[in-house]
Amino acid sequence: MFKITTEVITGAEVREAVEGPDAGAVVLFFGTVRNNTDGRQVKHLEYESYPPMAEKKMAEIAQEVSEKWGLDRVAMIHRVGKLEIGEVSVAVAVASPHRKDAFEACKYAMDRLKQIVPIWKREVWADGEAEWVKPDAVFFDAPDMRKTPQ
């Protein structure tokens, strides 16, 4: 299950999508809206996405997980629109016969989501200003579009 949604994320969607009687370990990751960024007070967030491409890229990440760990139980959901403090923006679930793999694969899927899935965040500050977030230079590894595509 790979989905962009405007609804509240409960976690049940992704968990139910990966659970099964042969998977002894399930790892879930939730990203939530924090009340501050680098100390500056956040009022709320707005997420925009390019849904068909985002869902396609999520499925590609699941394919990568399948190749690396042999796991085919991966689910990802990302919410878009206006999100309040404390609300869940993203949930990733991975089920595995082995817990070590479940932890590693879930972390990997989340890392890749931030790299290649077309979703953008706009921070609306408590003082009323707003801006589209630029990724941290350190973590930003998208290639120059004039070179080889990812």
Binding site: G31, E48, Y50, M53, P118, W120, P135, M145, T148, P149
Partner: protein, 84 residues
Amino acid sequence: MNVTVKYFAVCHEMLDRSEEEMDLPDGATVRTILQRLEEEWPEIAEFYEVMQMAVNWEYATENTELTEGDEVALIPPVTGGCDV
């Protein structure tokens, strides 16, 4: 030929529209679209180092050739997930 071009986030904001149809000459590439946009918004060139392009939901290069009905998108640096 006609293609659809989509603008997201900061591109959407700067161009003040989220998508448009473009009538392009045969043999047009992603570069052709960028050249058109440079006429309206010269500063777009400053984004090239970090921006990506997509054609039909797949990352592309400026040399990717276009065909009738393609969906092209300007992809500013993605910042999905959580910020931690």
